[in-house]
């Protein structure tokens, strides 16, 4: 063969190989489609609260009176703050249930004692049946999840449900079967196939002030883990599992269907729950320590749990949970002016249930829980229950990071280094929900920010106070598995981690999608932002405007005033205005009731040398050589222009620093699009910063907040640093990835 043909033949072979490959394996997956385009600013829908607030702003005299009251209040702000010892105990449950682990089935009865505090007779009673969200793929929950079960491929046995078998009205010794009145209702979306809310009716009205007793027989089949619920292997996480009555709120029943993006709302009461499980299983439940334990002689054991003044009851069980119990004792306290107020907090028994392979996380869980108990207690009011149960969830149980009264789940990973906030961050957060959700029973369906947002802010405060900044990290050489991320961790020592470090950039990306104050299921892809990040960043900003001490007073007052109650957004705003003595409605208008973004910047700095006096100058009609005001020193006319680039408005400070070290801090109401500050000085401006103390954490771009005067040829050292590092990265990239040459 002619040797010169060989290259051509080999190219042909190569092409044939490619085509052959094409025919055999098909085209490899293309890069994923670009993310769905979202409109830059969908038409915002104003919340119902906006009009009310506007009226209040207009009422100047009322404002003045409020300020006077606030002055008096400021002197004795905590005089009348007393934590209520118990709730109204409206919805009280006595339950007796049994778990059949193999079938993932919980069967039993509940006796509901419901106190009619509505002020009017009642005859129709709505109940939640949350588990029916996973009964089929027609529920509102699944529809809102694009007909997906959080990525699960469902087999027939994987679905879950709650089946109400019988409802009986108990009146003394009389029992009236009212099962026939049972019907599913869909108060939110009219989806007739959704069965997450049902209603029963009593033969007669229940007069105001009286207590109704219902006996409900039910069975709950746990789904495979879908959304913080379900059973996997022999780990059973039994939550939102029983028929649960709605809340009479603001003159109507509030009993929403279960949505993909919403959580819960319920009245406080007493829970007395007996649970039968296999003897070898370990159990954790609301109430913590079982009041009694009984061996049944058939390989099962019955535990009785009792907890008053809570609005839900959750439990879990598995045979291999490791149970560790320690006491929280309030020893460490700051010796400051608040020390008196932070009287020793009560002892709390902390029950930790960990996975057998997570022994290394035990200390970290306890440490985080103790710190959270301390700081939440000191800042808002003591944790009132005797126990708290911390659960390290089973892998792929999807039950991590969830809160229930006196019980919450964390989430850990054996590969997480100490510099990273796993499991601390989630532990503090979920414990924090004991306060913002548990003790302050806000409506999570309608105002999720009141628990998630407040708690995210509080969690950040605890993490900032009790830990060194956590670091960013990444797992290498691994991936997804066992429902988590695994790999060899690398800690980026230079990069601090936290919501407060990058939260504003998240607001920048999604902040225009929705007004924050909306119902949980009405957001356009921004539930996370508007329930967690934006409200948390708002509260940080509010703290900066009010001052740390005033924010402490506001939140402590709010918490004391509304413990065991169902406050609303307006209740919080009223508390802020009352305690601070300031009308902060402008703040809420621009944050919670608006999708506008804050963005202030320094637009330009000009240092113009004022020329030496030339021309004719006179004084008292007589010619003089130079103006009287001229000192002879070189003078500059310095102009600093700051801009409001966003639509949201807030007052900001502007710091101007001169070459000779002199500093000026200007106040700007931030209203108009720009503001110019002009100085005639002997020293030019060196730099200027708008919002120098970072008060306005919601400012979506801190990078444009400051400007330094530099000559045109100046090369940024930081740019050199980053570019040189990237160049090294790139040189190695070339080397590593050219191995196939």
């Amino acid at each position: 063969m002619n040797k010169s043909l060989i290259p051509f033949i080999e190219y042909a072979v190569w092409i044939v190989a490619c085509v052959g490959l094409a025919a055999f394996i098909g085209l490899p997956d293309a890069d994923p489609l670009p993310a769905k385009q979202v409109p830059a600013q969908p038409p915002p829908r104003l919340s119902q609260g906006t009009g009310q607030l506007a009226e209040q702003v207009a009422d100047e005299s009322a404002e003045q009176r409020a300020e006077q009251r606030a002055e008096q209040w400021a002197k004795e702000w905590d005089k009348d703050l007393v934590l209520p010892s118990e709730s109204d105990r409206i919805a009280n449950y006595t339950m007796d249930v049994k778990l059949a682990p193999a079938e993932r089935l919980v069967t039993g009865t509940e006796i509901l004692e419901w106190k009619n505090t509505t002020g009017q007779p009642q005859q129709n009673f709505p109940f939640h049946l949350y588990h029916n969200a996973w009964k089929n793929n027609r529920s509102t929950f699944v529809k809102e999840n694009n007909y997906q079960f959080s990525g699960r491929q469902m087999k027939p046995e994987d679905y879950g449900y709650t089946n109400v078998k019988r409802v009986v009205l108990l009146e003394g010794s009389n029992e009236t079967d009212i099962t026939a009145t049972f019907k599913y209702i869909q108060p939110d979306d009219g989806n007739a196939e959704d069965q997450t809310v049902f209603q029963v009716s009593t033969p007669r009205q229940i007069p105001a002030g009286q207590t109704m007793r219902l006996k409900i027989e039910f069975e709950t089949k746990q789904p495979i883990p879908i959304s913080r619920t379900g059973a996997i292997r022999n780990y059973h996480f039994v939550v939102q599992w029983f028929p649960k009555i709605g809340v009479w709120s603001q003159g109507a029943w509030n009993c929403h269907q279960f949505h993909a993006n919403t959580e819960f709302f319920a009245d406080y009461g007493v829970y007395d729950v007996s649970i039968t499980i296999p003897s070898e299983y370990v159990i954790g439940a609301t109430g913590g320590i079982a009041q009694s334990e009984r061996e049944n002689g058939d390989g099962t054991k019955t535990y009785r749990f009792y907890q008053a003044d809570v609005h839900d009851f959750a439990w879990l069980t598995a045979p291999d949970l490791v149970r560790t119990v320690r006491k929280f004792v309030h020893r460490e306290r700051e010796q400051d002016e608040r020390a008196e107020r932070h009287h020793p907090l009560r002892e709390v028994t902390v029950i930790l249930l960990t996975q057998p392979h997570h022994n290394d996380l035990i200390e970290r869980y306890f440490d985080a829980t103790f710190k959270a108990l301390r700081y939440y207690g000191e800042w808002y009011g003591e944790y009132p229950y005797e126990t708290v149960t911390v659960v390290d969830p089973a892998n792929d149980s999807r039950s991590g990071g969830m809160e229930y009264p006196t019980l919450f789940t964390g989430g850990g990973n054996i590969f997480a280094p100490d510099e990273t906030p796993v499991p601390e961050s989630v532990t503090v957060h979920e414990f924090g929900h004991q306060f913002w959700y548990g003790l302050i029973g806000t409506n999570e369906f309608e105002e999720a920010w009141l628990d998630e947002g407040f708690n995210s802010y509080s969690q950040d405060r605890v993490l900032n106070t009790a830990w060194k900044p956590f670091k960013a990290y990444r797992y290498f050489f691994g991936g997804q598995g066992a429902g988590t991320n695994v790999g060899i961790p690398y800690v980026f020592e230079d990069v601090n981690l936290g919501r407060y470090t990058t939260g504003n950039t998240v607001v920048r990306g999604q902040g225009k999608l929705d007004v924050m104050a909306r119902k949980g299921w009405e957001y356009y892809q921004s539930y996370g932002l508007n329930s967690y990040t934006k409200p948390a960043m708002s509260l940080w900003t509010l703290e900066h405007y009010l001052g740390e001490e005033m924010m402490y007073r506001v939140l402590r007052t709010y918490h004391h005033r509304y413990r065991f109650k169902h406050p609303t957004t307006q209740d919080f705003i009223n508390t802020v205005n009352e305690v601070s003595g300031k009308n902060m409605n402008w703040f809420f208008e621009n944050t919670w009731f608006s999708s506008n973004l804050f963005d202030y910047s320094v637009s330009s700095i000009t240092n113009r040398a004022i020329p030496k006096p030339q021309g004719v100058f006179t004084m008292n009609g007589e010619p003089v050589e130079k103006p009287a005001a001229d000192s002879g020193k070189p003078m500059y006319e310095c102009t600093v222009v700051v801009m409001r680039e966003g639509e949201a408005i807030a007052p900001v400070d502007v710091k101007v620093v001169f070459e000779d070290g002199e500093e000026w801090t200007e106040q700007w109401d931030g209203q108009y699009r720009w503001k110019q500050f002009v100085y005639r000085t002997t020293s030019p401006v060196k730099y200027a910063v708008v919002d120098p103390d970072g008060k306005l954490m919601l400012d979506v771009n801190y990078n444009n907040n400051g400007k330094v005067v530099r000559h045109a040829q100046y090369k940024s050292l930081a740019a050199k640093k980053i570019a040189s590092k990237w160049m090294f990265w790139l040189q190695n990239y070339f080397e590593f990835n050219s191995y196939w040459h």
Partner: protein, 333 residues
């Protein structure tokens, strides 16, 4: 024999210091082609920035996120992430190697070109990497052509060797690309995709971790084996003046497998030196606070010193393998 080949290789490389520096300079030049525009963008962004000065005290996640948002439309800015920090570049690139990122992208490009007669637009980084592959192909010919001779070559002769074998080595690269492509697409992507499902029900996260580590070891071994075969194919092309890259690949594989303990032992020894160099860089880099111009420069110089060493190692790789081949085939001088 492994040690002797290694020593022989090192001695040979020390005779070609200028060529090693030339290889480094090519690396620098290609990197500068992207790094200078990035610097220009960064400088324009940071020159008058108050926050820019703060960046000298540490990397700010907030600055980074806002910068990324401000730089939408830039092709370079998205290529910068935390993995430029510390010794993360090595981890990030190793991960990319194990995932076959560039091989798959380039493979898809050629595949679409040949099978569908259409272009998939390549990003700047991939295009430059492909260019670097061509440069490396050229250098491989030049180095092996130099080391196989028993006399010192001039720089011009070194370049001529590169030119002489470029066509054959390029064909070899295309053939090996197909093999790597199949390896990654069939075996490792399939395995990576399956691990989450295989281990979904595992009670401990250690289970998937072990799966991933085993997979990575398998990838590494496969890559080592394949690159070894391709390396000896190149040597045989030069040593035996073979025209056919395909036949050379077969011959290279035959040699590598027939003398597996020696070829693989040498491969491991060279790889060990490479890992030791990375470890040394990682330790030294951590000791230097990068707050001032001097310290930033020092780290940059350290990085370049590392890269020169890496080029030296690359040359040593060729030289040692050539020495081993000659030694085994009784052609050692």
């Amino acid at each position: 024999m492994i040690l002797r080949s290694l020593t022989h290789g090192i001695v040979n490389v020390n005779r070609t210091k200028r060529m090693v520096l030339f290889a480094w300079m090519l690396n620098v030049t290609l990197a500068l082609a992207l790094a200078l525009p990035l610097f220009s963008q960064l400088n324009a962004y940071l020159r008058q920035s108050v926050r820019g000065d703060e960046l000298l005290n540490g990397f700010s996640a907030n600055w980074y996120e806002s910068w990324q948002a401000d730089m939408q439309g830039s092709e370079l800015a998205p290529l910068v992430d935390y993995s430029i920090l510390g010794y993360a570049p090595f981890l990030s690139h190793s991960e990319a190697v194990l995932a076959g990122t560039v091989v798959k992208t380039t493979g898809r490009f050629f595949y679409t070109l040949v099978a569908n007669r259409s272009f998939i637009p390549l990003n700047l980084l991939t295009m430059m990497t492909f260019l670097y592959v061509l440069v490396s192909t050229f250098l491989a010919g030049a180095f092996i052509g130099t080391y196989i001779k028993d006399y010192r070559l001039s720089f011009t002769e070194f370049l001529m060797e590169g030119a002489r074998y470029f066509g054959r080595f390029f064909r070899l690269s295309l053939l090996s690309l197909v093999l790597y492509f199949v390896l990654f697409l069939w075996l490792f992507d399939w395995a990576s995709g399956k691990i989450p499902a295989w281990t979904a029900n595992a009670p401990s996260e250690m289970t998937p971790f072990v799966y991933y580590i085993v997979k990575n070891i398998l990838v590494l071994l496969s890559l080592a084996l394949l690159t070894m075969c391709v390396d000896y194919a190149k040597i045989r092309i030069v040593a035996e003046d073979r025209i056919s890259a395909l036949m050379a690949l077969v011959a290279g594989a035959r040699f590598a497998l027939k003398n597996f303990s020696k070829t693989f032992g040498l491969y491991l020894a060279l790889a060990f030196i490479g890992v030791a160099m990375i470890a040394l860089y990682a330790v030294l880099e951590r000791q230097i606070p990068q707050h001032s111009y001097g310290m930033i420069l020092l780290v940059f110089v350290l990085g370049q010193a590392y890269l020169i060493l890496r080029m030296w190692l690359k040359a040593t790789w060729y030289a040692s393998q050539t020495a081993l081949f000659q030694s085994v085939s009784g052609d050692i001088r």
